[in-house]
Structures are given as structure tokens and as C-alpha cells.
């Protein structure tokens, strides 16, 4: 394999992997708090990208303000998903939240399609114009920022879950909601918070990936699916395992593209996921937890 192709694959793979990881962290936090996930987790990614495009290109907001507003809106979307598509079903002991989250995602995708428009749009970002040459390959500031941001957020989240009061409450709710409530923890608040965080994480991924990709109503679907695969591949029980799962998937995809072309990338990558899970059902980096009965 050519040195430049491999170098490019590693950079692209790391960036994409961190994006998968960021979206997959959203699966992790809600799963940790409530054993439920937003199966349309690609939608807040799309909302983040679409909003930052609309606010910067059409309303001429500065990028930082547009990014903050977009991530905030994604957090609100996460809250809405929990309130409308998860809580009513979980309260009744139904598993229909699974379908309801997909339905909310489809509705949102169509709303964006009709309001934002049908065309994929291109978002320019000055971080894409700044960079340096390394061995004949141009590396942009954005390509550096994406993995750095992804890994920092994973570290921050892991630290919050381990060391802060909110993190302890989240773990308590995950272990035993009834006992946590007796100890003064409000499970409903913690679960809502986890969904808001989940939406925000996907929104950050959307804001970061938008300049490298095309912005459209359908852009989140494949990211959502791959992020779920990443969460399962890494092991959905921990922030780092989820992020590492994303990195492994992203790098595997990029190296396969460099080696065999993009035609076979998804085929081989998902076959690898199946093979890994067959050999290690708890994921590559997951830890088996003993259940007390």
C-alpha cells in the first residue's frame, strides 16, 4: 500500500472513528442511565450540521456562536426524544420506545428535508484551509481538531461518570433505580439529562464533520448505524470502550478503502464486526459484569 494512501487512511480513519465514537457515546450514556437508546442517534448529528450551516451561511452568525446554538438545539432534541418517545413506553413496561425513537427520527428527517431543502450543501470552514504538509500529504487543522475533540470529550465523560456527583447518580440509577430514588436521586431527571447529553454529543459530531462531508437531511442515517455498530463492537458498558470501538471501526474502514477500494469497505468492515462479536460478545474492550441474583 502506498505511503500517502496509508497516511491519509490513518488520518481519515481516526477522524471518522472519533465521529462514530462521539455519536456512540450518546448510546452509552442513555444505555447506562436507563438501558434504553435513541435508535435515531444519527438525527441529532444531522441537526447539528444543518443548523451550523443555516446559521453561518444564511444568518451569517460567527462559527463559534452557530456551533454552540446547534449543539444546544441537539441537547433539546435529546430531551424531546426522551419525553415523547421513551418515557411513556418505559413507564408502561413496553419496549416500543425502540420503534418510537426511530419514528421520531424519521419525522425530524422529513421536517428538515422540507425546511432545509433537498440539495446536499457544502460548508466551508477556515480550519479546512489551514494546515501543514507531511510527507507529501496535506493535513488540515480540522482533521487534527476532530480526533482531539473526540478523545477529550471521551476522557471528560469518563471522568464525570467516575468522579462527580452526577456521574455517581447516573451509575446508581443504572444499577437500581428504586434504590437510587430511596437515596434521594431523581431517576427521571438523570435519564432526561442523559438524553440531552446524548443529543449534544451527536450534535458536536455533526458540527465537526459538516465541513468534511456534505450537509443534507439524510446525512445522519449511516453515521447512526455505524456508531451503533461501534458501540457494540467496543462494548457499550464504558465511555472509553465505546470511543475505542469507534476508532477501530473508522480505522478499519479507511484502511480497507486504501487497500481494496471503497466498494468493499462496508462489506468487510461489518463482516469484521460480526466476527469480533461472535468471538467476544461483550465487545472488544467491554468487561463482563457479574449479576447478583
Amino acid at each position: 500500500m502506498d505511503r500517502i494512501a496509508l497516511g491519509s487512511a490513518l488520518i481519515t480513519g481516526t477522524g471518522l472513528g472519533c465521529m462514530y465514537g462521539l455519536v456512540a457515546l450518546g448510546y452509552y450514556v442513555t444505555y447506562a442511565a436507563s438501558r434504553t437508546v435513541n435508535f435515531a442517534q444519527g438525527v441529532p448529528l444531522m441537526i447539528g450540521a444543518v443548523l451550523v450551516f443555516a446559521l453561518t451561511n444564511q444568518l451569517h452568525w460567527p462559527v463559534w456562536a452557530a456551533s454552540l446554538a446547534a449543539v444546544g438545539a441537539c441537547a433539546v432534541f435529546g430531551l424531546l426524544v426522551e419525553r415523547l418517545a421513551v418515557r411513556p413506553f418505559v413507564r408502561r413496561g413496553s419496549e416500543s420506545w425502540l420503534m418510537a425513537t426511530i419514528a421520531v427520527g424519521l419525522v425530524m428527517e422529513n421536517i428538515v428535508l422540507f425546511t432545509f431543502g433537498r440539495d446536499p450543501r457544502g460548508l466551508r470552514n477556515s480550519l479546512n484551509d489551514v494546515g501543514f504538509d507531511l510527507g507529501g500529504l496535506r493535513i488540515t487543522a480540522l482533521q487534527i481538531l476532530i480526533p482531539v475533540a473526540g478523545l477529550l470529550i471521551a476522557a471528560l465523560l469518563s471522568s464525570i461518570v467516575r468522579s462527580t456527583r452526577v456521574g455517581r447518580e447516573l451509575r446508581a440509577v443504572a444499577l437500581n433505580p428504586a434504590a437510587a430514588q430511596l437515596m434521594g436521586v431523581d431517576p427521571a431527571r438523570i435519564i432526561a439529562l442523559s438524553y440531552a447529553l446524548s443529543g449534544a454529543l451527536a450534535g458536536i459530531a455533526g458540527v465537526l464533520i459538516a465541513p468534511l462531508y456534505t450537509v443534507s437531511a439524510g446525512m445522519g442515517t449511516m453515521f447512526g448505524i455505524k456508531a451503533f455498530a461501534a458501540a457494540i463492537l467496543g462494548g457499550i458498558g464504558g465511555a472509553w470502550s465505546v470511543m475505542l470501538g469507534g476508532l477501530v471501526l473508522g480505522l478499519a474502514e479507511a484502511v480497507i478503502v486504501a487497500w481494496a477500494g471503497s466498494t468493499y469497505a462496508q462489506l468487510i468492515a461489518f463482516l469484521l464486526v460480526i466476527a469480533v462479536l461472535a468471538l467476544r460478545p461483550i465487545g472488544l474492550f467491554g468487561r463482563a459484569v457479574a449479576q447478583k441474583v
Binding site: A5, S8, A9, G117, R121, T263
Partner: protein
């Protein structure tokens, strides 16, 4: 409350009954023509451009009394660039809407899937953008599929020739989207290169959702490619151009026209102008009388201020001429029956169109309305598509 609701319901039922009795009579008088094209998704601009061309032609026809004394109505369906959805839409238009003819959109895979349905149902099907050779050269006899657009095999010859003559390319590399359209051009470009005795550096495939095309481009650069021939729609084509820019590779790019079906200029940025691509018409060319009339309609109906504002120009130009040719055929046939229209299409004598003056554009064995001498090479200048200087 209940009374008000009942009154509302009665009125609604009455209106529905009246509409039900009256509408079929009004609809039966119309000649319906169908369009199955990408109206949403990555190639939505192409669908809009085709709609504009067809609408302008239909309005002009209707302003002169319609066809056979009947009004012409366009019925559109969105295929979302998906062959199964295109097939379902074509079947519905033929069996439920009873369209007299169908027009196709930008996507070769969709048009290839509709072709057998058109031939089985004896419904004339006119491709106004999709260039896949197999759409018209489909082995059916009689063949109900026509094209007022470029044909891949002929475009491929033109692209290889242009890469050699304009850029002195001796070893071009091919970058093809991984679908039926890419496949069609894979064969055509290999044949064109072999005929021109041009060695190919390699053939690379790209996907519709590729984020980075650097690996494919690196392989072509290492193989000694001195030009790239691109066959892709706007979004994947843009990803290829961005990867080329990131590599700092100033290799010339000669492209098929799929990149003009979306916001290629916005997706790529300033280097979009590096791609020279094929079109069947440029609104920047000195217009004939038909061109002036179409431009005036584009201006009044869609707020187009000048040639620079015409989105996806070939879609509008091809669709306009195709609809006018279909109109001539229906008048000649004195019928909206599929077989009569087909024979009349093959027998059209002359039509002064937007793209050119068509002289016996179709025959029983040749259903291509345009030829390589009708192609023009263009490039982006900002958001404008202008002839290459």
C-alpha cells in the same frame, strides 16, 4: 357544536361527491405526460431543472391550443434516485394515471429499470438526462425508448479525445461512481481509450457517501495518471475534488456531466473550476429564437435573471426539446396511443429546437436525438456554468 360539525361533514361529503363526478371528466380530456426523476436527495436540482424545461414546453403548447385540441398536463413522481422507487412510480403513472408518455431523470440505474416496463406497456419513454447506453440500446423490438440527451458511449469517446487534445494526456486515470452508470462508462471509456490507443493508468471506484477519496487518487497518481476522467454525480464528485485538493495534486479533471446535477461549485469551493465537463447546451451560447423564448419563460416563471442563474442547464434544455418533439409526434400520430406515438417519433422530419435544428432526429434503428457534435465542454466560473475558454 354537533350541528356545526354535521354541517361541515355534509359540506365535505357534498364537495367530495361533486369533485368525484366532475374531476374524471376534466382529467379525461387532458393528455398526461409523466416524469419519474430525482426530486429530492443529492440530485434534486436535476429534477427541478427537468421540470422547468417540461413545464415551459407544455405551457407553450397549451397556449397554442394544446395537442389534438386537448390540454397537456405534467404528472411528476419522485424516484429519490432509487430504481425500485422509480419502477413503482413508472408503473403507477402508466396504469393509474394513464400517461401517454414518460420522461426520465438523471439516474441511469433508475432509467435502466424503467426501460423494460416502458417496452412491455408500449409507453414511449424519453430519457432527458440519464446517459447510460443500455437505456436506448436495449434489444427491444419495437423499442419505445428514446433519448434527447448525451449517450455514454459517445460521451466517453469525447472525454478521452478532450483529455488528449486539451491537456495532452497520454495516460488518464478513471474515477467512476460505483453504480450502473459507472459500470456503463467503465466499458465505454475502456473501449474509447483502446480505440484512441491511449493507455489507462487505472480505474478507481468511489461510493456515493465516501468522505475521503485520497487512497484511490494516490493509486492513480502512483500509476502515472496525467489526467483524471470523472464519472460521478455532484456529491461524490465533490468529495473526489476535495481529496485531490488536499493531496495538492494539480492533475487536470475531465468529467461527465453528472456533477452539474447539484451544487458542485458550493460543495467543492474554488477548485470546482478545475473540472471541465460535457454538456449538450450552454445558455451562454448566442441563442436562436427558441432560446430567447425559453430564457424569457425562465425569467418570468422562475425569476432567472440570466444564463448564470439557470440551474442544471442540460436538464432544462434537453427536457424542453424532448417535450416539443413528443408534441410534434402526437400531432403527427393524431393519437395518444403508444405505438402510434413511437412510429411518429421515428418519422419526425424537422424541428427548430433549443439545442439545435433537429433533422430526422430518430429512426426505427436510432433513438438518439443528439450526437457528439452537439456536445460542448464547460466549466464552473463561481456558480456559473460557462463554455471552456
Amino acid at each position: 357544536m354537533r350541528t356545526a360539525f354535521s354541517t361541515f361533514r355534509l359540506r365535505t361529503v357534498g364537495f367530495a361527491l361533486a369533485a368525484g363526478l366532475l374531476t374524471p371528466v376534466a382529467m379525461a380530456q387532458d393528455i398526461k405526460v409523466g416524469l419519474v426523476a430525482a426530486l429530492t436527495g443529492q440530485s434534486a436540482q436535476s429534477g427541478e431543472a427537468i421540470t422547468r424545461g417540461l413545464t415551459i414546453a407544455i405551457e407553450q403548447i397549451n397556449a397554442r391550443g394544446g395537442l389534438l385540441g386537448r390540454k397537456v398536463v405534467l404528472v411528476r413522481r419522485d424516484d429519490e434516485s432509487s430504481p425500485p422507487k422509480g419502477v413503482a412510480a413508472a408503473r403507477e403513472l402508466i396504469s393509474s394515471e394513464k400517461v401517454s408518455a414518460l420522461f426520465g431523470g438523471i439516474d441511469t440505474p433508475v432509467s435502466l429499470a424503467i426501460t423494460p416496463i416502458a417496452n412491455q406497456s408500449r409507453t414511449p419513454f424519453i430519457s432527458v438526462w440519464a446517459a447510460g447506453t443500455g437505456i436506448t440500446v436495449n434489444g427491444a423490438n419495437p423499442n419505445y425508448v428514446f433519448r434527447v440527451s448525451a449517450q455514454d458511449d459517445l460521451v466517453d469517446i469525447a472525454l478521452v479525445r478532450y483529455a488528449s487534445s486539451r491537456f495532452g494526456a497520454k495516460k488518464p486515470g478513471l474515477v467512476l461512481v460505483n453504480n450502473a452508470w459507472g459500470e456503463s462508462n467503465d466499458k465505454g471509456l475502456r473501449a474509447a481509450a483502446a480505440a484512441a490507443k491511449v493507455e489507462l493508468a487505472g480505474v478507481e471506484k468511489i461510493e456515493m457517501n465516501d468522505v475521503d477519496v485520497t487512497p484511490q487518487l494516490s493509486r492513480l497518481r502512483n500509476a502515472g495518471a496525467d489526467a483524471l476522467i470523472l464519472v460521478a454525480n455532484a456529491a461524490p464528485g465533490a468529495q473526489m475534488m476535495k481529496s485531490r485538493e488536499r493531496m495538492g495534486w494539480k492533475v487536470p479533471v475531465v468529467s461527465h456531466w453528472g456533477i452539474s446535477g447539484g451544487r458542485f461549485d458550493e460543495l467543492v469551493g474554488p477548485s470546482a473550476s478545475d473540472a471541465h465537463f460535457v454538456q449538450t447546451y450552454s445558455f451562454f451560447a448566442p441563442p436562436n429564437e427558441t432560446g430567447k423564448a425559453v430564457m424569457a419563460e425562465l425569467s418570468s416563471r422562475y425569476g432567472v435573471k440570466g444564463p448564470a442563474d439557470v440551474i442544471a442547464p442540460v436538464g432544462t434544455a434537453n427536457a424542453y426539446d424532448a417535450m416539443r418533439l413528443l408534441g410534434i409526434a402526437i400531432e403527427r400520430a393524431k393519437s395518444t396511443e403508444g405505438d402510434a406515438i413511437r412510429k411518429a417519433m421515428e418519422d419526425i422530419d424537422q424541428y427548430v429546437g433549443l439545442i439545435k435544428t433537429y433533422k430526422r432526429p430518430f429512426s426505427a434503428t436510432d433513438h438518439e436525438g443528439l450526437a457528439p457534435e452537439d456536445y460542448v465542454m464547460v466549466q464552473y466560473e463561481g456558480s456559473r456554468i460557462v463554455p471552456v475558454k
